[in-house]
């Protein structure tokens, strides 16, 4: 890592010798030509990667500027999406994106925490490795497969729960379904299909393995000394987890959750397959009709005019900035928790 210089031996002059004849040796590393070339090439690759990444942001901003200039502040407050009549904004689709991500996080965090705790604390030692692989495998399943599963399998089974929720908990604003009469026994399940809840469920399953692997790694790094101390004081296993593993893994829990949130915000195809798009602020998560920025881009870019494309780029830029902030915060939190700053053992 840091040892890149050729080994240099410094010989100190004896005290009797004439001092002024000794020259201070140059201890800077010297590189011969192949090494110089090598360092140049790898440095160039670093610059290239940075340039590509920055170019993504700059081009998005450049292409989005036309729409942003035309719409100004209305871009954030409007919720319709009709760029060709200059009437568009991300209020609706950004709310939809966040609602789907929130449902996903509510599904994913207990699942991820439970599984991470099981793998790091409860599972027999022999099965730990294969369980970890299985969870990683879940992260590698293509999103279109999750989308198919959500649309053709989950949707049929979850509408009953949606109906129950809105019948008995409909007084909570989120669970209201407009146009549903709970006294009408013939009301079909169509009022509950293609909703934010179903999309959120599927996205939640997709982000669980990501959050889980971060949490598991941090949990398994909880210091052995403090674990033993808790047991020595007579703690049960749950007592040990609550007083050692969870406080130590706090950063990992928060960071893993935010990493999952970043992925949930950007998910496209699974959401696209499940929801039926609406372009309005739609806080009723059980109701047919939802929206997200990424699925709007996938839906609208094909038939978009020059200005419509610019509007889509602006939406993409907004999504990019949001995920960037979320991910950046997550990375910082995870890194801080990994350095062991919270434990002195």
């Amino acid at each position: 890592m840091s040892v890149t210089s050729p080994p240099v031996t410094v010989v100190r002059g004896s005290d009797e010798g004439p001092r002024d004849e000794q020259k201070r040796r140059d201890i800077r590393p010297r590189y011969d030509l192949p090494d110089k070339l090598f360092r140049g090439v790898i440095r160039l690759s670093g610059v290239a990667v940075l340039a590509i990444m920055l170019a993504v942001g700059i081009f998005l901003a450049y292409r989005a500027s036309q729409a942003l200039k035309a719409q100004g502040f209305h871009f954030i407050t409007d919720s319709a999406w009709e760029p060709d009549s200059r009437n568009f904004g991300i209020a609706g689709i950004l709310t939809g994106t966040f609602l789907i991500a929130m449902v996903a996080i509510i599904v994913a965090v207990p699942l991820a925490m439970g599984t991470a705790l099981y793998i790091s604390e409860y599972a027999p030692r022999k099965t730990k490795r294969s369980l970890t692989s299985l969870v990683d495998l879940m992260a590698a399943v293509p999103s279109v497969v999750y989308g198919l599963w959500g649309f053709f399998f989950l949707q049929n089974h979850i509408t009953g729960m949606s109906r129950w929720l809105t019948t008995y908990l409909g007084w909570i604003p989120f669970f209201k379904v407009s146009g549903f009469d709970k006294n009408d026994p013939l009301a079909g399940p169509t009022a509950f299909t293609s909703s934010t809840l179903i999309a959120g469920f599927v996205v939640g399953l997709m982000v669980t393995p990501i959050a889980c692997s971060v949490m598991r790694e941090v949990f398994s790094q909880a210091p052995a000394g403090e674990r033993e101390g808790a047991y020595a004081l007579g703690a049960t296993r749950w007592g040990m987890i609550r007083s050692v593993v969870l406080p130590f893994g706090k950063g990992g829990i928060i960071g893993g959750t935010m990493l999952g949130l970043g992925r949930a915000l950007g998910e496209t195809i699974a959401v696209y397959l499940i929801i039926s798009p609406v372009f309005a602020v739609q806080p009723h998560i059980l109701e047919n009709g939802a929206s997200s920025i990424s699925s709007t881009i996938a839906l609208k870019f094909g038939a978009a005019t020059q200005f419509g494309l610019s509007a889509l780029f602006a939406a993409g830029l907004a999504l990019f900035l949001v995920t960037l902030v979320v991910n950046f915060v997550a990375a910082t939190i995870v890194q801080r928790s990994r350095s062991g700053a919270e434990s002195d053992a």
Binding site: Y118, V144, A224
Partner: protein, 419 residues
């Protein structure tokens, strides 16, 4: 990947011995050495007792029967999902009640939490199995026809039966696109990871931060970027190359990050030993660092490829759609597997949906195979060898020893000149 496995292996050795102590504190009394004492029964050291199992079974039976009564006689509930949910809640409550008959508060809480944690893990694995099995089962209808693997969709409309048409154009497209993407990302990504590790400094830290932040880049934004630059500004048509570039932008940060982690795990002593022998920096990297991290790097690349193969949204924007085979990435639209799934599912005809599921099952199987290969190659940390590699090294070193011994017996006095 490999970092986590090594770490969990080292900590797991300490938390298991206490599994017994946590559940049942035991005191060992040495038996008196008299002959007339009754034969001692061997104590069971496992923390599981018979009452534990009985409590679980009892609570489960009670929960199922209570829920059945609730659903059929008492309350207006219905539906399998609701049944499972209510049963589970009742089960946890009843189990807590049963345990509380012979345990104190903290032990009851411990048991309940253990039950909940176990069931959450089981739930997640069930969901995974459900997704995989559902896709494979629905896809089976299309997968049994051999024409599914050999033909493209030029002659098969959405209404045609499954005995016509297939997905050969889609998997050829995926193969071409992922090859181009790997040709771009593997050299660039691994060189960049080497840079991050070999020339640390403020700039390297900046590159690492940006690359890590970019792993959360929504894939559709990567597609939009290539659409804005490559297609709109440079004027290229929608093609396989554009799709490969979009996938590359998405895969690059993933590969850099994974390779960076693996390279960081290469022991510093190995590099220092190489430098101490007078080797330059690039020879050290080429002959020591990269070979040591080889299996981890392979895993990083394969996992990145699995992500790239399964990604739909960047391809959707940049590749265009066609029903015919196109092997030229430079011109004309080129379909990949996930895009083919997406387009076929949009038709409501049963044959088209069956084809979509068949394609999805094929894609899933491909990802599974890649994943298993990655685990087999990269299951061990840097420097850990397989049994065969160890045998080969041992044989080589024995040969060296023999050669040196025979050389020194032939010319005992004269030192061997250094080549």
């Amino acid at each position: 990947m490999s970092s986590s496995t090594t770490i969990s292996a080292s900590t797991s050795s300490v938390d298991d011995p206490y599994a017994v102590a946590a559940n049942a504190p035991t005191t060992f009394v040495v038996a008196p050495m008299s002959s007339d004492a009754p034969a001692q029964r061997r104590r069971s050291l496992s923390g599981v007792r018979r009452t534990d199992g009985l409590a679980i079974v009892g609570a489960l039976a009670a929960a199922v029967s209570l829920t059945t009564i609730l659903f059929t006689q008492l309350a207006p509930f219905s539906g399998p999902l609701g049944f499972v949910l209510v049963t589970y809640l009742l089960f946890v409550g009843l189990y807590a009640l049963l345990v509380s008959f012979d345990e104190s508060g903290p032990a009851v809480r411990d048991r309940v939490v253990a039950t909940v944690v176990h069931s959450l893990a089981i739930l997640l694995l069930t969901a995974l199995v459900c997704v995989v099995v559902f896709t494979l089962l629905r896809g089976l209808k299309a997968l049994v026809h051999s024409n599914f693997y050999t033909q493209d969709l030029t002659k098969a409309g959405p209404l045609d039966p499954l005995t016509v048409g297939g997905i050969s154009h889609a998997y050829v497209g995926t193969l071409i696109q992922i090859t181009i993407a790997l040709l771009i990302t593997v050299p660039l990504g691994i060189t960049c990871a080497v840079y991050l590790n070999e020339i640390p400094g403020r700039f390297a830290r900046l590159v690492r931060t940006v690359a890590e932040a970019m792993t959360a880049l929504p894939s559709i934004v990567a597609g939009l970027f290539i659409y804005a630059t490559f297609i709109l500004i440079l004027g290229f048509p929608k093609s396989g190359l554009a799709a490969s570039l979009a996938i590359s932008v998405m895969m690059l940060p993933i590969i850099i990050r994974a390779a960076d982690v693996v390279l960081r795990l290469v022991p510093g002593s190995l590099k220092e030993a190489s430098l101490a022998l007078g080797t330059g920096q690039w020879r050290t990297v080429w002959h020591v660092t990269l070979p040591t991290a080889r299996s981890g790097l392979a895993t990083a690349v394969i996992l990145g490829a699995a992500r790239g193969i399964g990604e739909t949204s960047p391809v959707l924007i940049t590749a265009g759609y066609t029903a015919s085979m196109n092997t030229n990435p430079l011109s004309g639209p080129m379909v990949s597997l996930p895009l083919a799934v997406f387009e076929q599912i949009k038709n409501p005809q049963p044959a088209s949906i069956a084809r979509g599921f068949g394609t999805a099952a094929f894609l899933l199987a491909l990802v599974l195979v890649l994943f298993v290969v990655a685990r087999i190659i990269g299951g061990r940390g840097p420097g850990n060898l397989t049994a065969r590699q160890r045998r080969r090294r041992a044989a080589a070193s024995a040969r060296d020893a023999q050669r040196m011994a025979s050389a020194s017996t032939r010319t005992p006095a004269v030192p061997v000149p250094n080549p």
